[in-house]
Subunit: 583 residues, 2 copies
């Protein structure tokens, strides 16, 4: 029961100090969430109030089902962009079909997450490697930031790829609206200054660090208030400044999403990708924060919680949500102790929806564009790109393809290509495994690669260590390698396969070993195995190989050498230890 | 030069005894090939002469480019079935478009094989695992045999799946032609008897074994001759017995395939699958036969040779060819010494095309159907299915899916699903690696799983062996496992990761290890590595992990224990060796 309703665990011991801490954190997160929820709704191509709706029910549901104490669920930039890209292919922005498709996307993605959670399929998310997700988020952030420039300039430039947006800006630049640019430029400059400098200024002015942090967090609200006032006071909407306009007052009404099978089929793949990306982001944020306080999260239950949150989002007129990095960190820093903080945020957002919306009708969209740009630029991680480049070229290839395709073709192509390429590179690598000729390290019973260490070998015994599971992609490679080695050196009478790094063996590999065994026998060479691990031995016992094997299976490599070349092995063991690594 | 033209190697030393041996083998193969080439052309839904055309140019080209001394190239059953299934989706059987598509398929498949050979991409074929290809060939053979029953019964029952063919037979059974059934039944019974009993009968009658074998091989030609004579003599064609009819006399004229881009696009995927299956069959037959005579083949050059053969087939009006199992074995057994035997077969087939075709017009199609049934039933390998079931359930799953989809949906679905499922099962397995707690085997410096062996462990040192490459699908698993183990046992002060089975490490895993290192440090636990292999160490040296590591990297596990628990390690080493495996 507690596994599926983690709320039972913390609610039983909920006390007054925890309540105070959660309430303070909730207020700070709300200040951040009001402009962000409106902005991300616009980013997704939806009416502003959809952002507010997506910030109520999902937060309450996550508080019931979530295992992270500090994760802040709600609209986030990358998933909003993915929603816009997917829904934009089905319906035109501004239509009822567009809104309906976004709502259906939330429900379908929620059902997928819930299903994966109940079937405990969280491991699927592991196939999104760190370099791919990191490259994807960086590229999406660039795409989002560039996509907001038309909003700041006061021109219309639709499109979901870098080329489309930049072309749109260049061709529309002559029609820019100076008032919009003024407001947007001010908001952008102010928010950037607040983000990078304000805290230091406040601290120097003697403000307490805690209060200074809250003031910095409130900067977007201040930008919203100032630009809204200016727009209202000078009547700028009449001069072509795009404003949010009338937002319906009142809480969202529960409603079913459109139940058109063709629509659901069309959003199947995008919903799966949104679920995957949202889940990976959620789990990595939740795990990072939980570790800092020695707490643990349950990744499979997180699927259930995120699924419930998205179903709740859809049924209350909202769009797909996930656990966001920035707001979760703020929630954590502000001292949130339990998911109740999220529930309090939901209540505060509900109050805002009831009472603040009339004040927002003169809010310029350019301010929200500026909010988005400043928020997402923090997601661009150039250091990660450099780090991966320096350490692993295959990973870098997957990362680079993800980034380029995301920017040039679109988010879905980028993420799908990244996953596919990382799997293909892995398969290619395991199809050509590393095989080392090994010898005994003097003064030990240990065997190492002859190319990297000065070791003792015996002419008539070829000891090989195969550094890979033996399975179908490399079964033929094994045959080629072994028979080639025998053909080259006629002195060999024994081949010992050190299987310590053979982590699995399948039917194809067993057939190859059978063939190798027969051919070596024909050539007067015995085949031995050493250090075969338990799971692999279990498999071999169910085949004929051990019965047909011309040689012996030894527990250790040293045992094998004691049997095949006892004097050499003992002499080597008796030598003193020394540094044997080759340069 | 010799690498791309293996003919230069054997032609230089060609002598009279070799010529005699090759000529004899060529004659025996030709006797087998005449009825088979006609039959497989009909199986592919093509006019009978297309089979003859596919048995001339391809054999000459393979003789120039092939590295196998004994492989017999030409039309084979499984590839003919795949051609029929693919081309049947594009055009109606009997039309010029159908023939054109089959010819284009040969050329495209040839170009693909040639390209893969020049790029040395032969390893791609390894992704077709033994159980998948074995299941696919067995299922195709059943499909082919059942698909020939309408031909024996004298009814029309088109379709490429088991259900379609069986339904067709049941609904058409009332219209069966008794004369056709008589001829077909006789041919089937005679061929089966010849295959299973004739040799013993001949040997008992005192015929020399060599001659007996030739007579058995000639049985299909005898069946062809007898049933053709009967059909001609009794004028059975007028009673509804389907005959091959007039075959154009003369050699095929070189011609380009249809150059319609839409057609080439439609056959792209089927051509890739045909190439893959044909290549895998070719290489496994060629390797098996080469090994028996201590010869070697070059798998990449085989791609070039098979590519040239298929391009040649297409440009001379033939359909896709490959190296067949049955005829290659006959060629080998008959004593073929060089690919010249194939060239002689081609010449004999050309003579047959020039002079024998008038005799074939009264040949009943039912006889060819019987030839096909008897030929393919030998391909059904039930023992392989039982063997895989007994030894490896994951492999069996891939095999079973391949068999079921091939029979019920079609050949392309079957082979594609088999490949995809074997890759997915591998990825799933590596995402949940085997992790063993290890301890020292007494009397040795060797460490084994505590669950399988009676070993010595120390309370404050947790020694773990991870039996998998550390990469993105299992990066999170590693974190969960290690942090879980530490949370369970508060006595642990040192964790030693034995990396002997870690065959690779990617950026995702390095980040996970960094996180693990930090979290263990926070918990007062040191992280050590032991037995890190060369390629993995090279990767780690390009990251920050070794710099940040709280513990040490040891050459051997025993070194680690000597440093962390010296007395226990030495005491254990000094104990006598004994059997420690747990039951």
């Amino acid at each position: 029961m507690r596994r599926y309703f983690p709320i039972l665990e913390w609610l039983a011991v909920y006390d007054k100090p925890t309540f105070g801490a959660d309430l303070l954190a909730a207020l700070i997160v709300t200040i951040m969430l009001i402009p962000q929820s409106l902005a991300y709704a616009l980013l997704a191509g939806l009416p502003a109030e959809v952002g507010l709706y997506a910030s109520i029910a999902p937060l309450l549901l996550y508080a019931v089902f979530g295992t992270s104490r500090t994760l802040a669920v709600g609209p986030v930039a990358v998933v909003s962009l993915m929603t816009a890209a997917a829904v934009g292919q089905i319906a035109a922005q501004g239509t009822a079909e567009y809104l309906g498709a976004a709502i259906a996307m939330a429900v379908l993605s929620g059902l997928m997450l819930l299903g994966m959670g109940l079937l405990r399929l969280g491991f699927i998310a592991n196939f999104l490697s760190h370099p791919v997700i990191s490259g994807f988020i960086s590229a999406s952030a660039v795409l989002i930031a560039v996509g907001q420039l038309p909003g700041i300039l006061g021109i219309a430039a639709p499109g979901h790829t870098l080329v489309a947006v930049v072309t749109g800006i260049l061709s529309g630049i002559s029609g820019l609206n100076p008032f919009t640019l003024l407001l947007g430029g001010f908001a952008l400059g102010f928010l950037w200054w607040a983000r990078t400098r304000l805290k230091a200024v406040l601290l120097r002015a003697g403000v307490r660090p805690g209060l200074a942090t809250v003031i910095v967090r409130a900067a977007p609200v201040l930008a919203v208030a100032l630009t809204t006032l200016a727009t209202w006071g000078f009547g700028l909407a009449a001069h072509g400044v795009a404003v949010v306009g009338d937002i319906p007052t009142g809480l969202p009404m529960p409603a079913l999403p459109p139940l058109d099978p063709a629509l659901w089929q069309a959003i199947l793949l995008p919903a799966a990708l949104i679920s995957l990306v949202g889940y990976v982001e959620t789990v990595s944020v939740a795990q990072t924060l939980a570790a800092k306080r020695r707490q643990r999260i349950d990744p499979d239950q997180e699927l259930v919680a995120l699924g419930a949150a998205n179903i709740g989002a859809g049924l209350s007129g909202g769009f797909p949500v996930t656990g966001g990095f920035a707001r979760s960190v703020v929630n954590f820093d502000a001292g949130a102790q339990t998911p109740a903080a999220g529930a309090f945020t939901a209540l505060a957002m509900a109050l805002a929806t009831l009472f603040l919306t009339p004040l927002l009708s003169h809010l310029p969209k350019a301010t929200l564009a500026a909010t988005i740009i400043v928020a997402v630029l923090g997601l661009v991680d150039l250091a990660a790109i450099r780090r991966v480049w320096a350490s692993n070229r295959a990973d870098f290839a997957a990362m680079a393809v993800t980034i380029l395709l995301t920017l040039l073709v679109g988010v879905e192509a980028g993420i799908a290509a990244g996953v596919a390429l990382s799997i293909l590179l892995h398969l290619y690598r395991t199809s050509q495994p590393h095989v080392a000729v090994i010898g005994q390290v003097q003064g030990t019973e240990h065997f190492r690669n002859v190319r990297r260490h000065t070791v003792t070998t015996v002419p008539d015994v070829l000891a090989l260590r195969i550094d890979e599971a033996l399975y179908f992609p490399n079964a033929r490679f094994l045959e080629d390698t072994l028979l080639g080695a025998i053909a080259e050196d006629k002195a060999i009478r024994h081949v010992v396969l050190n299987c310590v790094a053979v982590n699995d063996i399948d039917s194809s590999a067993v057939e190859s070993l059978e063939a190798i065994n027969t051919r070596l026998h024909d050539a007067g060479v015995q085949l031995h195995l050493a250090e075969v691990k338990g799971p692999v031995m279990d498999r071999l016992l169910r085949t004929h190989l051990l019965h047909d094997l011309t040689g012996t299976v030894y527990l250790t490599m040293y045992d094998a050498m004691l049997a095949l070349a006892p004097k050499a092995a003992r002499d080597c063991r008796a030598l003193p230890r020394c540094e044997t690594a080759k340069p």
